[in-house]
Amino acid sequence: MRDISTSVPKTDHWEKTAGTAKYVADLAPEGALHALTFRSPIPHGEIRSLVLPDLPEGYASVDARDIPGKNGVHIIQDDMPVFAERTLRYVGEPILLLVGPDKTVLKRLLSAIRLETVPLEPVFDDRRADVWHHYVKGDPDQAFARAKRIIEYEYQTGLQEQAYLEPQGMIAIPEGDKMTLIGSIQCPYYVKNAVVPVLGCAPDKVRVIQPPVGGAFGGKEEFPSLIACQAAVAARKTKRPVRLIFERPEDIEVTTKRHPARIRLRAAIGEGNVVEAIASDIRLDGGAYLGLSNVVLSRSMIATTGAYTVPNVSCSGEVYVTNTVPTGAFRGFGAPQIFFAVEMFFQHLAKDLGEDPLAFKLRHLAKQGDLTATSGTFRDPILVPKMVKRALEMSDYQNKTRRYSGESPYRGLGLSLFFHGCGFTGSGEATIIKAEVQLRKNADDTVDVLIAAVDMGQGAKTTLAKIVAHTLDLPLDRVRFPYPDTDVVPDSGPTVASRTVMIVGGLLEKATQKLKARWVSGVAVQLTERYQPPEWIKWDEKAFRGDAYPAYSWGVDVVEVSVDPRTYQVKIEGTWSVYDVGKGIDERILEGQADGGMTQGLAYGYMENMEIKQGVLRQRNLTDYIIPTACDCGPYAVEWVENPFVYGPLGAKGAGELTLIGAAPAVAAAIENAIGRRIRKIPATPESLLELIEYGKR
């Protein structure tokens, strides 16, 4: 049997290259009405009065009063209303939809709405902490009391916009008392479970269908639930299909972004320059509504000592609420923020202690059997030392570093070590998701994979079908993984948290093995497999204690940059990465994750800049919010080490987010080494580098 890692042509390649794949904006059900959203122009205030213009025949307005059920979007915290009723909490907050057959008319009607507000004092700083957690490992107080030296720094990360190429969109189609939603989404069941309580109907009256999705990166994890609820209420009211399709500026202005972070790290240094304790204070900006900010904070807190073993930890985290666009899920989900901080911190500690940063990091690197920051255990082998060695070879790190510090000012390399916990935090899989998969073997001996996992470009359609085909030793074209439809497929959980191959694929592997045992040619059979948590996962949600994740994927990134001394612009001269994702289900698809994740992560570190001034985004289109083009990337090389995870399908762990996480710290370290000034804030834009070079500390 051939190695599953061997690449195969993707199952959706033809439709995507020929342009026949139909994304949500390409669909227009018969008689569909367009919907435009009327939004708050102020960051904080109350509605005093709202006067609509006369609406012509066939046009309607839809607001909170039209909601049959409850006015709340179910996203872990249900604090976000479907339509604002009285209080406005961010510029762009949706107040109502205008729906009708002609967009030009809708546009005119929208601009004729007269809104009077009573402004309230907006909050843009961290004074309103709405979520607060704290946990401890070992005895940090003692460690700080004993410390030879105490060093503390603060790090900051900024907003990041997912900038998926396909803007958000949702279509709601009423058929009798049933509501069908078709949208650009990551989680069909999240959408279904959000719409049901808003419509106040039975679960079987809501159906969600996923069409091809043009990229998501977390931006379509929870946000689509909001527009699904709005479109569904509009469709219920008008009894017509409703199309709510965003254009780019609206998408950038009002959809969820990555949480900006301020992270203070304090280290107690003991004998032999060992980090005996770390006290961390992690603050995330949740925007106007919490949504799933609690979980993002958890991820940050859990990784508060990064790839290192520190015996004593005191970790505080909070999410503060501001009158700005709500922040939400974005690839990495709290990890990019904390790994930037920890990696730079360890580099700065080393420099303060007169040590070589790489040697310092490797001395503290976690080893198999060590306790994690939350007092769980790294049960599986950690191959990072081997991966570092390889990354140094690939990049010629030591020679170049020596050469550049001597003869090439403004040129440098940086290295980062990082992990990503695969799957939902702690007991989430068992207590919240409870994933279920189905396999349907047909009489013609083809197999249908019935799951709710969404292929948003990461290749799930191919990799999951591959797992089934490989296990059955069937040609791939005999295994079909149709686009999820909640009327047909069970809830295998959301397409998030790097769980799709490891958890859903793992369930499929189990189901397939059972199917194989019962296989009779010509006979149809259907199998269901439900998630059983491994008993060794013990996680105390309240105390933040135990095994946060069943498995960890690991990475080493080396980035080389040159900085133009005239313009302070950063050029990526090369990137070299070594990753451990257990076992690759498809080499080429994995390489795509590496290529894309690195680029997105690098840009988070030095290019993508989004500012909010008095609650208004300054960069509101793709002209002003800058993401990389084909001319912005340098040569790259990626290698994979195999480290099969016993509970992963064919040994696979998660990969989707890992490849982004290490990029920003590596490029920041490279820039720091190139310009000889400490980087404590990203994005390291040319403007910020100018300030550092003129005024910064060496």
Binding site: K107, I245, R566, T567, K571, Q619, T629, D632, E687, L690
Partner: protein, 288 residues
């Protein structure tokens, strides 16, 4: 009711401009963004529109005695590989936007849009480029640096159309164009420098400096440049700080969503200093 007309030839276009209130559209890559509406809704143009990109009389590149003449509606991509187009202008165009934009955008459009960050403008100012403005009543020539008075403001009469750009032939021993954007391609300029010098027998025979995106219009001061004429190369290099100081009050950038004024100001000066410091006694190969 806004009229939209496609004239058959230049004369018909000029008639429309003469008798009515029309806005000329060239390639459309600026106007279509400025008047952007929702998808599948008509764009909102306040004036009548006359579409002129197709007019053959206004396309083409011609070498004349001591100058090159470029039809206002010539797509920028065509200028990119044409040997008669001055190298500095080709460099500026090469850094503009993307192939898709360059296939459609025109030099005439870039001038008429008169954006403070217009990429070709510093070069056109530096090369003393002129524009031909035609109307039914006749035609006149005007230096582009006199034509543009401010952002989107041109000294052009409503019945006139920009039909041709002329660029006098010039020789320099050294020239540079540097555009600083937010990324390596497809970026709006934060600050740009077009600079050229002709060093003959160790003396400055011609020095030209033009900055883009640091003021409402391109910054070029011939008096300042002239003050260095006749200086030796070494005098120029030693005096570079004095030269920079002369430009300090002229470089008045703003803070906006792309960059800040401190950055633009500092980088503009850095680029100029770098140009001056890179000047060397020319070898047999002119240009840089």
């Amino acid at each position: 009711m806004v009229e939209h007309r496609i004239p058959e030839n230049l004369n018909e276009a000029l008639k429309l401009l003469y008798h009515g209130d029309y806005q000329v559209m060239a390639g459309g890559t600026d106007l279509m963004v400025q008047r952007r509406s929702l998808s599948d809704t008509p764009l909102d143009f306040p004036k009548n529109m006359v579409y002129c990109a197709h007019l053959q009389e206004l396309r083409g590149i011609r070498k004349e005695a001591h100058r090159v003449e470029i039809g206002a509606m010539t797509p920028l991509e065509d200028l990119l590989c044409h040997p008669e187009v001055p190298s500095l202008l080709r460099r500026a165009i090469g850094e503009m936007a993307s192939p898709a934009i360059r296939h459609v955008a025109t030099l005439g459009g870039n001038i008429a849009n008169a954006s403070p960050a217009g990429d070709t403008l510093p070069v056109l100012y530096l090369l003393d480029a002129w524009a031909e403005l035609r109307s039914l009543a006749g035609s006149r020539m005007i230096l582009i640096r006199d034509l543009i008075t401010g952002p989107r403001a041109l000294k052009i009469h409503p019945e006139e159309m920009l039909t041709k750009i002329g660029i006098p032939e010039m020789h320099f021993s050294h020239e540079t164009f540097v555009k600083v954007g937010g990324r390596q391609a497809d970026a709006i300029s934060k600050v740009s420098l077009a600079a050229a010098a002709d060093i003959v027998e160790g003396k400055v025979s011609d020095l030209r400096i033009a900055f883009g995106a640091v003021a409402p219009t391109v910054v070029r001061d011939e008096t300042l440049e002239g003050a260095w004429e006749g200086a030796t190369l070494s005098e120029l290099k030693v005096g570079v700080w004095r030269l920079l100081d002369m430009y300090v009050p002229l470089i008045r950038p703003i803070d906006d969503q792309r960059s800040g004024k401190h950055y633009r100001h500092q980088v503009a000066l850095n680029l100029l200093r770098d140009f001056i410091e890179s000047l060397s006694e020319p070898t047999s190969e002119p240009g840089r």
